[in-house]
Amino acid sequence: MSSRQRGRRSALPAPVLVLALIAVAFFALPFVGLLWRAPWGSMLDVLGQESVRTALWLSLRTSIAATFLAFVFGVPLAWLLARVPFPGSSAVRALCTLSMVLPPVVAGVALFFSFGRRGLFGQYLDRWFDVQLPFTTWGVVVAQTFVSMPFLVITVEAALRQVDRRYEDAARTLGGSRWYVFRRVTVPTIQPALVAGGVLAWARALGEFGATITFAGNFPGTTQTMPLATYLALETDPQEALVISIVLIAVSFGVLVGLRDRWLHGARAALA
């Protein structure tokens, strides 16, 4: 270590250091407590239980479906917000990202009164298409998509704004149609943001609780995802709650670490 670096480190004011360390402890202690109480010996037994595996499988299916829907609708929405100036665009952006800051239970209530069987729009879905969303697996997917898509939209929108559009111009002069240029130039350029936004949306969908339980209910095998199962198990079988929590923590931590590497790698390539 050079003397200059040492000098800079010792210049860190003590109060800042103390507060920062308290913050670190604040984030670390809950995990310490959880891991301390984990039933490491019976881990595999609990994971082998039918109810846990059902919840895990349902969570995976619904969160991946929600992420897929977030891509299908979210990327065009991000494009619209980033590239097409229209009056009221900031209001539309606020509306489309509201569910990020909304209490999830409120999102669930809103979905219930609009897409529920008696809801403003849900009644027609029921009557015309015989589609019922509440208390079904599709209801879970809708709730997860509703709260997770904004993470993808704002990430991708920011990336689209930063794209140097002259590269797209260059591609067009080379004979690329708009769609070809989007696929071959724009998408590779914003790839880090697509990955980051997709992972954020997926993690949010995986952890979704409030909107799901309010809109889709809590039926094992149909709508009872991992977070719901964890909450319920805390009442009946705390050991099970601990095991599911550890699985969710492991998944989230893995995603975060993986994302960091992918993101930094991609960002470096984009800057170079």
């Binding site: 111009d169 260059a170 067009r172 002069t173 080379l174 350029t189």
Partner: protein, 350 residues
Amino acid sequence: MSLEASIAVRRGDFDLDVVLDVDAGEVLAVLGPNGAGKSTLLGALSGLLAIDSGSIRIDGVVLDDPAADVFVPPEQRPIGVVFQDHLLFGHLSAQENVAFGLRARGVGKAEARTIAAAWLERMGLESFGSSRPTELSGGQSQRVALARALATDPALLLLDEPLAALDVRTRQEVRRSLRDHLATFSGMRLLVTHDPVDAYALADRVAILEDGRIAQTGTIAEVTAHPRSRYVAELVGTNLVRGVVADGVLVTDTGARIAVATDPGPVFAVIRPQAITLSLSPDPASSARNAWPGVVGDIDRLGDRARVGFDGELALVAEITTASLDALQLRPGDRVHASLKATDITTYPV
């Protein structure tokens, strides 16, 4: 083949209104300072910008004509563009960059790769096919950009400030190689630049752009010898001589001898008219290493300056103030002496 363009574009406070023609096999340089409308012109020709009125045709085919409601999008125009910063796609290799236009136009992957490889070889870059753009030097990157633009066989090649992105040292070398490569392309070429030296080195004909209007067009010799306005005179009104340097003496194509302070070899030399001194009698005590007797040619008064033609061993244009012109009472046909310091001559290796 020919390009006929009459372009009017209004963007906010700025408006561009020009008429341009480029003939088959010709290199036209559009020369003007930043903000004169060069980028707008390229945007209109390439189709990245729709014109407000006028028309753009290549070989009689209309590419843009608002009155007839015709607009051909950029991807369908037979036009290749070499951008100022080259704009190579960072996520693709050099070869994939060159193949991009072919792939976009539906050429199969294998065939596009073969054609791209051939282009890289032609540019002397056969060993850089798998290199990423960041691994290329400025000159190499430009040759890839040129190959990429030419690979789709455009009728018209546009070059946007082809040398501006390069540092001074690589510039001369790249200018020379660019000239050689441009010479092998038989289509029309139009380059925009703010640097008269690029125009001299690369173009047959020049159009001077000033505030969105063409101030003057003509061959380089015509425009440099007879600039029609003070603006054009300041931009390009200079003396241009080609020749070979040996032992500190530049022998021109016409046999004149000029003392220069440069390395030996073929060069073209730029002599600023302001650097030339005219006097009625030779001054043996002067430090100027060049002094020629001759006669006064045409005299053009441009404001408080006068451009005075000089015919001697070498034909030159000198620029002096109208005050000294009147003091010397120079008239066409008068005998004068022109002198010039060797250090006032800028040479560029050819």
